[in-house]
Each structure stands twice: as C-alpha cells, then as structure tokens.
C-alpha cells in the first residue's frame, strides 16, 4: 500500500510512473564481463564521496610554513602549506589517513576498471553501431580520468608529485610552436609556477574535471539504456531482443551488492595497505630528486615512452620544432588514443559492415580485430614495462642500458609477433569450435530456478 501511495504521489506530480515501471523491468543480460563498467561507476562515486571529505581539510597554497605537527622526522622543516595540510590530514585528522588512502586506491581501481571495461568493449565489438557514439564518450572519460588522477596526486606537493609536475611542465613546453606559451599559461610563468598555480590545480581537480566526467557518465548511461544492453549469442537471443535479469529486484540487489563489495575492498585496502606515504618522500623543491621514482600505474606507459625515446629534437636552424618529451608525452598517447577513437571507422570502412549490431562477438569471431587489439595492447604493455626497467635493474641486476635496447626492439617486434600469433589462435579456435574454459575441465554453471517469462509487446 505504501509503495502504491509513493508511486501515485510521484506520478501525479511528474508523470513519471510509466517510466519508473519500465525502469524496474529493464533487462540486464548476465555476463561477468559486464561488471567492469559498473565497478568503474561505483568507484567514481566513492572518489566523489572521499574527495569531498579530503577537500574539507586540504589547503591549495604554496605559501611556505615551518612544520610543527605530529610527524617528528619532518619537524622544523620548511614546506608548502599544501604539503603540510596533506601531512596533517594523514596524522592529525581522525580517520583522515584512511579516507586519503581509500581515495588513492579508488583512483587506481577506477582507471583499472575503465581500462578492462574498454578492452571488453573492444574485443567483443560492442563499439559498433549503434553504440559507436557511446564508445567515444567512454574513451573521452578515460582521457579525463587519467588527467584527473595526475592532477590529483600532484596536489600533495610532496617530492614525487613535484617531480611529476616538472615532467608535465616539460611535456607542455615540448608542444611544437605553442609549447612555450602553453606551459607559461598553465603554470602562470616558468616552472615551478605562480603562487596561485596550486589553486588552479585544485579547482580543476575538484570541480572542472569531476563535473565533466559526471556529465559524460550520465550521457554514457542514457546511451547504454536507449538501445538496451548488448548480449552474447545464445538460446533465444537475437538482434531484436534482449534476454536477462530484470532490474527489480534481482539485478538491483546484485548490483548494489557489487557496489558494497567494491567499497568494502577499497576501504580494506585503504585501512590495511599503505599507499603514497607522502611523509616519507618529504616536501618538493625543484633542486630535489630521488631515484626509483614511479608514478601511479596508469601513467607508467607515459614514463616508459619518455624513457624509451631515443635522444633527438627536430631542429630547424636555431628553432626547435619538436623537443624530445613531445614524442613520449604527447605523440605516443596521441597515437594510442587516436587508434582507439578511429578504430570503429576503420573497421566499418574495411569490412563494409554498416549495419547495427546488438549481438556481441566473441574475440575469436573476428580474428583480425582481436589480433589488431592484442598487438596494440602488447605495444602499450611493452612501453609500460620499460617504464619500470630501473626497478628491474635493482631487483634482477640486468643493466639498464641493455634493458632499454631490448625494450626498444620489443616495441617493434612484440606487436608483429602478437598480431600473427593471436590471429592464428583465434582462427583455430573458431574453426575447432572448442571452448578454452570447457576443454580445460572447467564447467559452465547454470543458475538453478531460472525461468523465462516473455514480456515482448508489453513494454
């Protein structure tokens, strides 16, 4: 009775009753790979919630103060107000360190979930019409999320984040022709920048980028729901229908369960596994640096690209057209994202397939696409690991110079080998009809008690 009263109240004022009714019966096809996008969305909510808390304590100022706080080793040291407020937040605000670490872990998981989700979309052909527009929306969110993460950890003004900003400034300066002015505009002058630079960073991190991401996320969801979800081939599943669990109650409960499970993991990580102990790095000054510095994982491919690039600028007379950091810092990510943005068009032109697709491919169903995707992935992965060659030197003693030349060779060889290997494997799988999981002795489990109740024509 209460339910009906609430629904009537809403419907008589918004006319939304029928929409609500449809939403409750919205069908979600069941497949575990569909959960990565949800994890990304839920992680974003956690980032907003924890970030709001952090913003109540953080001070985006470079004004120098002498530290007198709880962490003894730093006492008496001069540092920026930004860094001091982040250290105080970690040691003197009750539960502050927990929330800060959850925020940092959530950022890493957010990017990881988006990346895996993107790979699912790519390898199953979910980016094809009518979802190509939504694929571009998703890619744009990934770009924004990488920038958001970088700006976020730069705010702390510890030694590592300062080194990251120095590199970021060099990359901005390296943009042909306009780079000098670009860096000067963003930083308010020469690195390390104008006194209000951290105010700019902070505003971009807590307002501009989150609002852009949230807006795109809303568009993303609408564009998912309008043509309904994709689904894999199966009994009763076709291009015209969608078969799965209705939103209410089973899917809502499961998905809410996933939200709480994701949050639980993030809070367990934030409470138990230390991440970015800024008090150990110390405050940043332009003349300080440390060996073994590594960025968060989602920037690993960029540090790798900067390190792998052979030493050359494009110089005409005295004019430096392309300074070196441009190759690794702009051209390489531009190439990878350019490929991702262009792929739906390339595939459409090359196959001549302009139809809409609601049924997903398995990776083997389209060996060439799978091989191209795997080749590009192997390139990014190679560059990513090259970024950690200095750590590999410390761990295994392989000389850094030798590793670098090895990785340079691999960036050329790995994509070629991976392309042909993947294509051959996919073709063989497709022809044999074997299922890798089944043949390994694993069983596909069907949930008991599932019944079908067609509702076509009703909604």
């Amino acid at each position: 009775m209460t339910t009906r009263r609430v629904f009537r109240f809403l419907d008589s004022r918004t006319g939304g009753g029928s929409v609500l009714g449809k939403a409750l019966r919205y069908v979600f096809p069941d497949h575990w790979t569909f959960l990565f996008g949800e994890i990304a969305m839920y992680t974003f909510l956690i980032l907003v919630a924890t970030g709001t808390y952090l913003a109540l304590f953080y001070e985006p100022s470079t004004a120098q103060v002498v530290y007198h706080g709880a962490y003894a080793p730093l006492r008496g040291q001069e540092m920026s107000t930004a860094y001091a407020s982040a250290v105080d937040l970690s040691f003197e605000v009750q539960a502050g360190l927990l929330i800060r670490q959850v925020h940092h872990w959530a950022a890493d998981v957010f990017l990881a979930a988006i990346t895996v989700h993107l790979m699912r979309i790519f390898f199953t052909g979910a980016f094809r019409k009518p979802r190509d527009v939504n694929y571009y929306v998703g890619l744009t969110m990934l770009v924004l999320a990488v920038v958001e993460g970088y700006v976020g950890y730069s705010l702390l003004d510890d030694l590592l984040s300062g080194m990251g900003l120095a590199i970021g400034n060099a990359v901005a300066l390296s943009v042909p022709v306009i780079g000098g002015q670009l860096g000067s505009l963003i930083w308010g002058g020469r690195f390390p920048g104008a006194p209000n630079f951290f105010g700019r960073l902070f505003f971009v991190h807590v307002f501009v980028l989150p609002i852009l991401i949230a807006t795109l996320m809303a568009v993303h969801l609408v564009l998912i729901a309008t043509p309904r979800h994709t689904q894999f081939r199966g009994r009763g599943r076709g291009e015209r229908n969608v078969l799965g669990t209705p939103m209410w109650p089973a899917y809502a409960l499961r998905s809410l369960g996933l939200f709480f499970a994701t949050t639980a993991v993030l809070f367990a990580l934030g409470g138990l596994v230390q991440i970015n102990p800024i008090w150990q790095w110390g405050p940043y000054e332009p003349w300080l640096g440390t060996n073994g510095a590594q960025p968060d994982w989602y920037l690993g491919w960029l540090i790798g690209a900067l390190r792998l690039m052979p030493s050359f600028d494009v110089v005409i007379g005295n004019y430096t057209l392309v300074p070196n950091p441009f190759w690794g810092g702009v051209a390489f990510p531009g190439l990878i994202f350019g490929f991702l943005y262009l792929w739906p068009t390339i595939e459409r032109r090359w196959t001549g397939d302009r139809r809409a697709h609601n049924l997903l491919d398995r990776p083997r169903d389209n060996p060439t696409r799978t091989a191209v995707g795997a080749a590009v992935f192997s390139l990014v992965a190679t560059v990513f690991f090259a970024g950690a060659a200095d750590r590999a030197f410390v761990q295994f003693g392989v000389p850094y110079e030798d590793q670098l030349w090895g990785y340079r060779a691999l960036t050329v060889l790995a994509p070629i080998v991976v392309f042909f290997l993947t294509r051959a494997l996919a073709r063989r799988l497709r022809e044999s009809g074997a299922h890798p999981a089944r043949d390994s002795g694993a069983r596909l489990v069907e949930r008991p008690g599932a019944i079908s109740r067609p509702t076509s024509g009703r909604s």
């Binding site: 670490q101 000067s184 505009l185 002058g189 229908n241 709480f260 949050t263 300080l288 030493s311």
Partner: protein, 325 residues
C-alpha cells in the same frame, strides 16, 4: 515500565516479521533460511558500523582498525544483498524487445519517415525567411566574434613566454652558497663527491638557481678549449635541472676503478638522461638532447664564485630554447 518495554519489543518483532501475502506466477524461491541469513548479515553490518564509530571515538584511532571495521560493515551488506538477490527474491529471466531505431532487420521505412519528418519540421520552421544565407553568415560571424572574446581572457593566465627565459641569477662574481646560505668552499669537495649549491641572494625555488657541483681529478678533464679555465682544481658546476624534463640531477656516478667502469657522469633519476662530466656536460645516454648548462667557476679565498653566466638555457626545451642559449 518494564511491561511497557516488553510490549514495544513484542510489537516491533511482530511488525518486522509479518509475512506478506504474495500473488505472483513466477517461481518463488521460498527459502526462509536465506531470509534469516540475510537479516543476520545486515544486523552484523550494523554492529560493524557501530564498531567503526566506537573506534573513531578513541583518542588515537588506529587506521587499520578503522579500515577493517568499515570494510567489514560494507562487506556484510554486500553479502546480504547478493544472498538476497540469488536466494530471497524471485529468479526470472525476462525478454524485452529492443526499440526499433536500433533494429537493422526490420523494414527501415518507418524510421526513415521519422527522420524525414524531423528534417521537414526543421525546414518548415524557417519558411518565409528570404535571406537565409545572409542571416547564416551573420550568425557565424557573431559566433566567431563572441568565441574570440570568450577565449581572449585565457591569456591572463600566464605571462608572455619571452619573460620567463632571461631569468637566471648567474653572472660573473656571484658566490655559490649551500642550502643554509653558507659559502661553498673548494675544500668542501673531495674527488668523486658532489653537492648542491645556489646563487647567493637568489630565490632557491627559481629553476635556474640550483647547481650540482662535482670534483674530479684535474688531469681527467677533457673540456673544450674555450672552457679550459672553467674548472679550477677539477671542480665543475652544472645546472641541476635536467634539460630533458626538468627533474633534479641527483645521481653522480664516479668510477672507483677507471679501467673497468664508465667515466664520471651526472644522471637524472626520472628518465636516466646521463651527462658526461669531463667534457662539460655533453649527453651520453638517455632521452635528453641538449647538454647540461655549465657554469664557469673561479676560486676566491677558497670559496667558489661564478666566473660568468651559464653556458645554455636551463630546463626543458621549447621552440626557442636554442636562440637564447
């Protein structure tokens, strides 16, 4: 009083556990055990949440305990929801027809009609307008003008790029000081050691201020002829900022056994650009392109003093970096 309390509790229990009549034609799981478990998990979650509050209230709350308690609360809720999803609520598979716009296999005529209709409505909206091109051009012009006006204030964000390069505190006669503003003496450096120095009186945070000063054996030096007197007693000074990506050059490699090891070099820890110390900062490895700017030194009363400006532009390359240096 006690009786009243009993009545309240009894009423609450009755109210909470009242079974509801259900008229549905789906397979209902009817698993009272699962319902009990779900409720138990939720009650446990409530306890874990209260435990978090209790730990928080302690004077010096332990981050691990805080994390564990709230993670436990969240995990218990997750478990309850997932259990409810698969054991308490009806399990059904629904089939839904997709909306027609995404349907490539149906007759596309209706869809085309809709598109045509929309296009027609759009055109009809401007029926009777005679000079469309003029208005269109005027609208575009207004857009460009307003767009330019909207973007122009972005230039206020930073100074003109030319202002930022000349700034270097180094010229002949400037003393080298350490982090505490005490003069750097030649005797502070042994062969194979290095230290950081700054221009006396300059802002240490300015990019061109910090130097890395190293000492090698004078007979090892292979400086170009015009720099022959830049390194008195084998002491060399370079800008501490890497010419690749502006990290601080904080590694100095000095061979302990010259026959087997590579020569003395300064290494940037960010991307491992490596600069030869003996020949005046030329790059020998890594992505940097320009050499490390060298500062000519002289020794006055045992203290290190600049004998001239830096040999090149400090910091990362940009389009006009080679004009200034």
């Amino acid at each position: 009083m006690r009786n009243l309390w009993r009545w309240i509790v009894a009423g609450l229990v009755l109210r909470l556990s009242k079974k509801r009549e259900v008229h549905r034609e789906v397979d209902l799981p009817a698993d009272p055990g699962a319902e009990t478990w779900t409720a138990a998990l939720l009650f446990a979650a409530a306890l874990a949440g209260l435990a978090f509050v209790a730990i928080y209230a302690f004077d010096d709350a332990d981050t691990q305990l805080l994390g564990l308690s709230i993670a436990a609360a969240l995990a218990l809720i997750a478990a309850a929801l997932i259990l409810a999803a698969v054991r308490v609520v009806p399990q059904e598979t629904l089939e839904e027809e997709r909306p027609r716009f995404a349907d490539p296999y149906r007759d596309e005529e209706n869809r085309e009609d809709a598109v045509e209709g929309a296009a027609l409505s759009f055109r009809e909206g401007t029926d009777g307008v005679t000079r469309r091109r003029l208005l269109g051009a005027a609208g575009a012009a207004a857009g460009v003008g307003l767009g330019a006006a909207a973007l122009a204030p972005l230039a206020s964000l930073g100074p003109a790029v030319g202002d930022r390069l000349a700034a270097s505190p180094w010229k002949a006669g400037v003393h080298l000081v350490d982090e505490n503003d005490l003069p750097v003496k030649a005797s502070d450096l042994e062969v194979g050691s290095f230290l950081t120095a700054f221009a006396k009186g300059a802002d240490k945070g300015e990019l061109a201020t910090p130097l890395v000063v190293v000492r090698v054996k004078p007979e090892e030096l292979e400086l170009p002829a015009e720099r022959a007197d830049w390194a008195p007693e084998g002491i060399l000074a370079f800008s501490k900022i890497c010419t690749h990506a502006q990290c601080a050059i904080s590694l100095f490699r000095y061979p302990l056994f010259a026959e087997r090891s590579p020569g003395p070099a300064l290494v940037c820890p960010c991307h491992y650009s490596t600069f030869d110390v003996l020949d005046g900062g030329e790059r020998i490895f890594g992505p940097a392109v320009r050499p490390l700017p060298q500062l000519p030194l002289r020794i006055e009363a045992g203290e290190l003093v600049a004998a001239g400006p830096l040999s090149g532009a400090v910091g990362a390359s940009w389009s006009r970096v080679r004009e200034e240096g």
